[in-house]
Structures are given as structure tokens and as C-alpha cells.
Symmetry: C2
Subunit: 244 residues, 2 copies
């Protein structure tokens, strides 16, 4: 069976996973994106189990999500994902979210690296193998995720200890939970007045069970915030959030 | 169109919503159950929007979940739900979870009340209307959820403040988040050694944004714990958890 280069996934929003505005949250959109990425890769022979055979694992390095409109209660959403670029150490994957009439709701772009399971150090990608899945589909009309200015030394941190519900299948702090804890730093009034137009995150190192973290947030300009999650003063992830 | 009395729902587990053991969590099973309950009721004319027209809303009073086996990565699960009993103030709804071969994975039983949207006080159910959906299907082979012995005066509480990510579409503490915060009280070692065989919860009142809560847990006998979430010393919910 030849798989399409672009993966197509369908989901229906679930009522208990919506926020108080009746909208799908950024962490839940993150879940849909990352799940689609896993399945897309697995189906094409470069997923979790294939990487595992090579003693390697995928690691999400950077992710940027831009939403024009948030899916609401029981809404059918289609998610497209495709490989945008392949390099020796990084590969870029793009996403497009559309509603049941095909109208774009949002886009995402992500950068992934592979690590050696034992050493946890970056390892070379199978450039030739992965390149077979490159498409002509243009990248989404949003900026790539990039470097985020540190705020951990300017904004005081709120303490947080990693719990059972924070762990993913690898026993590390779940990518979705990073987003959840960061967004909880914003006041509810901001959610009432505005929506997140762009959410960007970069991962530096892994969070583990029981780890004492500090959550930082500072406004850079009106409606723009830089954020960080630190462990012993060193950022394990940084984020940038724009509101509209 | 005549709807079957028993609702049938299908879902596939998603990798980023599994725990460190690669298993679906109790809160995520709770999400599937409550989502199926909402859709089942809505499709049969007694859901959220129908209740809203009568100035009323469903409130989950008690829920018991028993799992023999937890769905794992990318597993297809079927969930059946049906109305088990209808009274003047309460109605009972049952659930059965089976895997792709029809093998039962677990069961749940729940008790619901209706409240007046304005007064937030219990209101009478439409017994005749709801009774049209009673089936001959026997209730699941697990005990109904019942009264839970208080522990808030014997076990010291861990403080928790209700955040954005805790809120449901009604702006109250999400039923799933109650479960998540309670389970986070258990040590990871317990999750490593055992599984939750029964999780039972009773809701007494609504949690709201910014509310200062305390989370309590006490072991009643080996592998059995009673729990409570309190606000100003009064329980807003109680739970009982058995491990095996």
C-alpha cells in the first residue's frame, strides 16, 4: 500500500475537553497535532517503533501554532500534516486544521530532532529515507518557530512540582502539560477578552517526575508574553504567546 | 429517525493522553464516559440544549468506574451507555467499555440530578419522557456508587487553587480535573506496582475559578483510599479508590 505523503486525520471535539468559553484549548490542539504526527510517521515507517529499532527516539524541539478560529462543541475538524523539510539533525513538519467546510481554522509548524535512547544526545537523521515523504505542498502561511528571548531572570517564578498526570508514555513531562501549566499563568480576564492568536514553544530538556520547576511569564509588548519553565534556574522550555 | 435506546460510541486512544505506563488514565476514561453521556442524551432529546430550554442543567452526582484492563496505545474501544433507572430527582446511567474483539475492559455506573439554572437547586425530572429510554439491558456487574466516608478531618490537606485549565464549558471545575488532582496525590510507586480497579466519586458542590481547595487522602484498609476535595473545610467532592 502506498501512503499519501500528506496525512489526513479527522476528529470531533469532546465537551469535557473544551474550556470555559466552549473552545478547544491550545493544549488539546497540541494533542491532536502530536498524535497525528506520531500516526503519520508510524504509518510511513519512520515512527516510534521504527526509530526504536535504530535505538533512537523523536524529540519535539520547536512548535508554533496559529489559530484564526477555535473549534467549538462537537465540531468535526480535519487535520493535514506533512514533512516540510529534512536536514541532518532536524526535520520540519507542518499542519493545517480545517473545519467541515474546508475553511482553515489554523496552522502549525514544528521542528523535530532524533536522540539516541541511551545517551539522550542528538543523532543523525535518515535524510534519504525521510526525504521520500517531502511534498510540493507549500508551508503554512505562518512564521517558523524560532528563538525565544529568556524571561526567567526578569520575571519571578511560580513553583510547580511534576506529578503523575504530567507524565507521557516515556515517563517525561508531557508536551501538552507544558502548554497547560504555562497558560494557567494568565489571568482568566485575558481569556475572557481575547484569544491566543499564536503559541510558540521550544523544548530544551526533559522534565521528570517530582522535579521542582518554576513557571515564568513577562509581557514583552502589549498582548505578547514570553514564558519559561525552569529547573534549578535553567530553562527546560521557553514559550511565546500572542493574544488578539 | 428512531434512536436505539443504548448508545454506541467508538474512540481510539491518543498517544499524548496516555500515562507513563502507556495506559488510558481514569480521567480520560471519565472524559469518554461523560462525553458519550452528553451525546446520547442530546441525540434523544434530553441533552444540554433541551434541559436549557426548561431552565435546567444536568449535574453528575455520583460515578463509579471499574476497570479490568486499561486501553493502551492506539487501541479501538467501544463504549455502550444506557439509562438504567429514572426517579423524580435522580436518574442512573450505565456504561460498558469493550475492546475491538468485544471483550469487556470495564464498566461504570452513574447517578445524575437536574438543577434549576438560576437557583442551582435540584429540580424534578421529566420521569415519563426519560422512561421512554429505559432498556431491558441489565446493569453492569459492579456496585452502584454510594456514600463515601469523610476523611477531610483525619488527613491533612494539600492546597490547590482552581486554574484556567480546570474549568469546563460551564465555567466550573471540570469533572475530569477533580479526578486528575485526586490521583496526583498517590505516589508514582503505587502506579508502577498496581492499577486502579475501582474509582468512585461523589460531587457535592461546584468548584469555581480561583477557589482555594484542599486535597485529602487517607488509606482505609490495604489498597483502599478515601479522598476529599474541600473548600473552607467543607467537602465539594469525595472519592474512594481501590488498587489491585
Amino acid at each position: 500500500m502506498t501512503m499519501n505523503k500528506t496525512g489526513e486525520f479527522h476528529f470531533i471535539t469532546e465537551s469535557y475537553l473544551l474550556d470555559f468559553k466552549g473552545q478547544t484549548t491550545i493544549p488539546m490542539i497540541g494533542n491532536y497535532l502530536l498524535h497525528a504526527a506520531s500516526v503519520h510517521a508510524e504509518e510511513r515507517g519512520f515512527g516510534y517503533s521504527d526509530m526504536n529499532k535504530r535505538n533512537a527516539a523523536w524529540v519535539l524541539s520547536r512548535l508554533a501554532i496559529e489559530m484564526k478560529e477555535y473549534p467549538r462543541m462537537s465540531e468535526q475538524v480535519t487535520l493535514y500534516t506533512w514533512v516540510e523539510e529534512v536536514g541532518k539533525l532536524f526535520t520540519n513538519r507542518s499542519f493545517e486544521l480545517v473545519n467541515s467546510e474546508g475553511k482553515p481554522l489554523g496552522y502549525a509548524r514544528s521542528i523535530w530532532a532524533a536522540i539516541d535512547i541511551e545517551t539522550r544526545r542528538p543523532t543523525l537523521l535518515d535524510v534519504e529515507g525521510l526525504s521520500a515523504y517531502l511534498t510540493d505542498r507549500p508551508h503554512p502561511p505562518i512564521e517558523k518557530p524560532g528563538k525565544i528571548v529568556p524571561v526567567e531572570n526578569t520575571a519571578e517564578g511560580i513553583p510547580y512540582r511534576v506529578k503523575y498526570s504530567d507524565l507521557d508514555v516515556n515517563g517525561h513531562l508531557n508536551s501538552i502539560k507544558y502548554m497547560e501549566h504555562l497558560l494557567d499563568l494568565f489571568d482568566l480576564e485575558l481569556f475572557k477578552e481575547k484569544n491566543i492568536s499564536r503559541f510558540e514553544i521550544t523544548h530544551q530538556s526533559e522534565g521528570k517526575y517530582g522535579m521542582e520547576l518554576s513557571l515564568h511569564s513577562a509581557s514583552m509588548e502589549p498582548d505578547k508574553y514570553n514564558m519559561a519553565i525552569c529547573h534549578e534556574g535553567k530553562a527546560i522550555c521557553r514559550a511565546a504567546v500572542s493574544w488578539q
